[in-house]
């Protein structure tokens, strides 16, 4: 019926089957190392830099990278490296928060659709189809327009933007499970419906959901940074990587390092997340 849905489903299938990653590739090892490092940065940012991310020093503004300021300083003389280290938390928080909201909302809607009878299913799926027709960033922008910007609202907006695709996946998987013989057996044995959902449906939906979420995490990182680049993200003095990119945008001609390094951080994190996601996918397919 709906072209949007088939298009997206086929896209996913097409992307799934391409760009294989070998199980023991050095890239994957690098990604794993990066995640360990990232966890350390998140937990103990103070370990990685002696500078404060907010200490301004106008005399040392717009300095290029050197031994003292590894990645240079911004227009207020703040250490770019220190801001990058401390900004990690917000960037990861937004992406992870958005993914959790998307997965939670999607699981709820999907289960409701699969278990709630034909009318509920029909109504919910029509809404999901309409929402799937939106580019994710556009949907997130619509929500930000409604709620306003800021760290929390950006995470909510990206989360809501992800809900339709998770909901569709959960619904499909749940319907498969509900039609299976073991669910039939459980029903015959008199197991209550909500217990069936908890014991049989949810565990079976969980695997594919985690795989899709690992891919979604990558796009949430990029979209989150994108919203911050547009000035809709964290409110100063807080800054995630995207907000740092936006900060340096007007100084590219004289001080490229303010924008370039945070953008690099986004890219590296997305590459690592994508690699890990594909690895999960491969394992799921096998």
């Amino acid at each position: 019926m709906s072209s949007a849905v088939t298009v997206l489903a086929e896209t996913e299938a097409a992307v799934l089957t391409t760009g294989r990653v070998r199980p023991r590739s050095p890239l994957l090892a690098a990604a794993a190392t990066l995640f360990v490092l990232l966890a350390l940065v998140l937990a103990f940012p103070g370990l990685f830099t002696a500078h404060s991310p907010e200490a301004t020093d106008v005399a040392a503004a717009l300095r290029p990278p050197d031994g003292r300021h590894w990645l240079g300083t911004d227009q207020l003389g703040r250490d770019v490296y220190a801001r990058l280290v401390y900004g990690t938390r917000l960037s990861v928080l937004i992406a992870v928060g958005a993914t959790l909201i998307g997965v939670g909302g999607g699981a709820l809607l999907g289960l409701l659709s699969a278990c709630g009878g034909r009318r509920v299913d029909f109504a919910l799926m029509r809404i999901v189809e309409v929402l799937l027709g939106f580019p994710e960033l556009l949907l997130a922008l619509l929500v930000v327009a409604l709620l306003g910007g800021g760290t929390l609202n950006v995470a909510i907006a990206l989360g809501i933007a992800g809900v339709p695709s998770y909901a569709r996946l959960v619904r499909g998987q749940a319907r498969l499970v509900l039609r299976s013989e073991y669910v039939e057996a459980a029903r015959v044995l008199g197991v209550r419906p909500w217990r069936t959902v908890l014991r049989h449906v949810l565990p079976n939906v969980g695997g594919p959901l985690v795989v899709l979420a690992s891919i979604g995490l990558g796009s949430a990182i990029v979209s989150g940074a994108g919203l911050s680049v547009l000035g809709l993200g964290p409110v100063p003095p807080d800054a995630d990587w995207g907000a740092m990119v936006a900060d340096g945008k007007d100084f590219l001609q004289t001080a490229w390092w303010i924008s370039v390094f945070p953008g690099l951080a986004v890219t590296v994190l997305v590459v690592a997340t994508t690699l890990a996601g594909r690895r999960l996918q491969l394992r799921a397919v096998r």
Binding site: M1, S2, S3, A4, T6, V7, L8, E10, T11, A14, V15, T17, T18, G19, R20, L27, R126, I127, E129, V130, L131, G133, F134, P135, E136, L137, L138, L141, L142, V143, V144, A145, L146, L147, G148, G149, G218, V222, A225, G226, V229, L230, G231, L232, V245, K249, L252, Q253, W256, S259, V260, G263, L264, V266, T267, V270, V271, T274, L275
Partner: protein
């Protein structure tokens, strides 16, 4: 389910069915957007005036009345539908002009950017895929890595790198604005490279799986050279899945345009959308959402109609 109209060729019937489904999707978009805006917490009048602008209670009442906000919700919904159906997008209080005129003046730069980026991405992807498909492990590994990097690279970062290197350092290209074709090069590349990475992955995969298919064996048995085989048969086969990606690609182009236009300070719909979201100019945001869903539907329908031209298998039995 399937309304059969006698006397119409199959493609026309198919087109009619798709047109009805398309109108339904756009209607759904309007509905979802309308109720999201009207049921969200907060006063819509604030959204109309924008933050920072202080309005007297009288002015607020006047704006509410003008926008029909004093009417019951369903009446407002009906009015909105009627207005949109007649091509009227409403009025932006913050910019003080009709939205239709605003979008009309900004649509051209965005279309220019999107079309040139799409063309560039297609050319790059086809070149990369045909040059690397079926090669040795080293070549394919390098290609896969490059594609992964291209796909993962946020377009705003790519834009910044290109600006810094080619515009500010080497002075090859102008940095901002929309003056002439030279100013289009860098924004086009920023938008096209990530897309090319994705398309190249898909095309290469198709090229490689085509080897061994009956139509390839037949062509080889007829003594067709490898180059002719690629150009006449395999490549066409490989381009087929791209048509199903059209909607996805379109979304990527528009989402990317929002960021790229902002980085390069180019005029266009993306700039309008970003500033409308920032100032919470809801009528403008609504108009852009509805407009993009309409474009999405139209492109998808066109692609489905053109499908039989590319894929001979779809020609015989009609487009069922």
């Amino acid at each position: 389910m399937r309304a059969s109209v006698p006397g119409l060729p199959p493609w026309a019937r198919f087109a009619a069915r798709r047109a009805v489904a398309g109108v339904a999707v756009v209607w759904g978009t309007v509905t979802v957007t309308f109720f999201a805006i009207h049921l969200a917490p907060g006063d819509i009048v604030d959204g109309l005036i924008g933050p920072g602008a202080a309005a007297t209670p009288e002015l607020r009442r006047q704006i509410a009345a003008e926008a029909g906000l004093d009417q019951p919700l369903l009446v407002q919904y009906g009015q909105e539908l009627r207005q949109l159906a007649s091509g009227d997008f409403g009025w932006s209080y913050q910019l003080g002009q009709p939205i239709g005129r605003l979008l009309g003046s900004q649509v051209w730069p965005t279309v220019q950017l999107a079309v040139s980026a799409l063309a560039t991405a297609l050319v790059l992807a086809v070149l990369a895929a045909t040059l690397t498909a079926g090669r040795g492990r080293a070549v394919r590994g390098a290609a896969a890595l490059t594609e992964l990097l291209a796909v993962s690279m946020p377009s705003f970062w790519l834009g910044i790198i290109l600006l810094t290197a080619l515009s500010y350092r080497l002075h090859v290209f102008p940095s901002i604005g929309a003056g002439g074709p030279a100013s289009l090069v860098l924004p086009t590349l920023s938008l096209a490279l990530p897309l090319a990475g994705l398309l190249a992955q898909v095309i290469r995969h198709e090229l490689e799986t085509a080897d061994g298919r009956p139509f390839v064996l037949t062509a080889r048995a007829r003594g067709l050279g490898e180059r002719a085989l690629l150009l006449r048969h395999t490549l066409r086969h490989a381009l087929l899945p791209l048509t199903t990606l059209a909607g996805f690609v379109l979304g990527g182009l528009f989402g990317g345009a929002v960021l790229v236009e902002n980085i390069f300070t180019r005029p266009g719909l993306g700039r309008v959308l970003a500033s409308a979201v920032g100032s919470r100019d809801l009528p403008v945001v609504t108009a852009l959402v509805v407009l993009s869903s309409a474009v999405f539907v139209i492109v998808n329908t066109l692609v489905d109609l053109l499908h039989p031209l590319i894929d001979p298998r779809l020609r015989e039995g009609g487009a069922a």
